[in-house]
Subunit: 406 residues, 2 copies
Amino acid sequence: MAIVVQKYGGSSVADAERILNVARRVARTRDQGNQMVVVVSAMGDTTDDLLQLAGQISRQPNKRELDVLLSTGEVVSSTLLTMALQDMGYDAISLTGAQAGIHTDTAYSRARISQIETQRVVRELEKGKIVIVAGFQGVNDNMDVTTLGRGGSDTTAVALAAALNSRECQIYTDVEGVYTADPRLVPEAVRLPEIGYEEMLELASYGARVMHPRAVELGELFNIPIRVASSLSEKPGTLIHREVAMEIRNKVRSIAHDLGVVKITVVGVPDRPGIAAAIFTPLAEAGINVDTIVQNASIEGITDLTFTVDGSQLREAMAVTGPLARDIGARDCVSAASLGKVSVIGTGMQNTPGFAAKMFRTLSEAGINIQLITTSDIRITCIIAEDRIKDAVRELHRAFELDAKG
Amino acid sequence: MAIVVQKYGGSSVADAERILNVARRVARTRDQGNQMVVVVSAMGDTTDDLLQLAGQISRQPNKRELDVLLSTGEVVSSTLLTMALQDMGYDAISLTGAQAGIHTDTAYSRARISQIETQRVVRELEKGKIVIVAGFQGVNDNMDVTTLGRGGSDTTAVALAAALNSRECQIYTDVEGVYTADPRLVPEAVRLPEIGYEEMLELASYGARVMHPRAVELGELFNIPIRVASSLSEKPGTLIHREVAMEIRNKVRSIAHDLGVVKITVVGVPDRPGIAAAIFTPLAEAGINVDTIVQNASIEGITDLTFTVDGSQLREAMAVTGPLARDIGARDCVSAASLGKVSVIGTGMQNTPGFAAKMFRTLSEAGINIQLITTSDIRITCIIAEDRIKDAVRELHRAFELDAKG
């Protein structure tokens, strides 16, 4: 029998009724003759509720303790889904991350999976059981619980699919797949039936919240086909895999966007070796996710260093960067909020000129000012004012001919 | 340094504010130079909420899954208390039942502790940490989570105290100790500064909800002094221990009562060997806690068998007993609800005549009809109408001279 790994996100298991719906879907796949491993996230807003509770106790909760606390959310939903399946007459068992053999490093709150010992999962599968695994969590060498960071359940699912040589990893969420742009912003947006790993990675990293980037990376590394679909519909979703038909690779695939971006500029930095490391090492150590980094050309040994962070980390980032700026002899350190990112993504852009020019021209014609630009081989990203993001996404969607035809 | 084990019940950790209060109490005991192990229950109504959630999914949730589900409640409170202590500058760590080395049998939902491997707890204590243990739970040989049944956190605490050779086990709850009767019923009731294990065991088993009977048994077995006190006051509570002063042993110590009792009578049972086993074995297997059992003297080989169960188990008990009664050739099986138990308890009654007579006379003078009587060496229990319990407790409290003087 083939092993199918499914993952259901928090909104898919938000209440008893939805858990029963998920159980019916799992049962159907089981009835088709598959061995099943199902990874679940915590119910609805559980993780946020637990974070809030911790916030009432401590301003900066200890990360080991926070991981143990947050891990209970996925344990709860895994037992409930198991009960639902048992009630329908299916043999099922819930396993915590530790029981499922998911070993990680010790980086609490953002642990990386180091190894999966599949013995217990395999033993339960061989007994004919549907195995329900609590997502988002693992255990370090000290047998202490760790969590994999936001979206970690996707990573759990893909990692298990890889370790178990699963045929496919199915990620069920509250959207119907990957679109050419966010359908809430662009009504003309079209669902992509398939997409390559690289493109999906850029999309996931640059604002499309469909899937966690690390899970996509892992899927690419082990060549696990990942299907993203809605747990509330029967539509086929989007298949993320290696072999994407040539003709559809040859263009822009999707427009991604992200809101709540903040720009921090360290002004008048003496341009000498080690300055970038002096700024970004402490930021990384403080757990601040620095995104786009731009350094101006140096004039008379003085330069400006600009980077963006998520708005929620502005205060922390400034608390680290402010004193650092003084230490390294910079003139000032300023921040600008209310920015957004818009990205044009597609492997078709590789080695093909004209995409960047078209993007800049489209934004310019819409009267949208570009504040920062970064690119990868298959992506061009512009930082613009947050209140122009919607216009930008729509204009680019049209300009790159992604609109649904009639 | 002496090791002190403390346990805080659900109402003591019901919200963030109360958890901070508990943290201050733990810190104070720590400051007195003790090594500390603290066992916590789930916050407030968490366990009931989780049970309700399971009930929305399945009418009869699988017990293994239910145990995993319920165990999360204590994990949550243990991490929050740990965070609170860390925030106050104390080094602390939370451990799940499994991490604390609490091994049990596989009787899900009412597991018994088989062994405690204290290595991890001792290691953390030696590092100077306050160890916060999630109560109510353990792990079986398959490394699956088990729970110890209602009140199991008391058992966790006393078992840890025994395994760690603790000086004293302190149980903090929402009452100020053990009283001569329930102070809500008898305003004249007096807190007992000390009480013996046996008496406390009878009290706990016959309605005083201060402590779990199994924890008292364990305390007696390992001779661990147990102090029961309120987490919201500074009063010394009640010390449960072996050496109780002679003069205060020589009388009735306390009046216990219990409401919601149901009586089931199997009428016209052929009186032959094995009949009792034929009835009570299936009841035990169905997890029904049979309490008082009375068998009438047999007349012409026919007898009546009466027993009591908790009102919440009436339906289940009748579902088991009804068919059984037919199978063994009994004439009928009837139940009577709305009963209560009132018990007079004290080691002073041992080998001393007159206590039973005085109890029956007191109830009779108050016009209270006795339906069933059971006794132990140190206890006399009468089953009476539920609506006369209050009167009975008051009259007995007065008759046995337990009222507060002046």
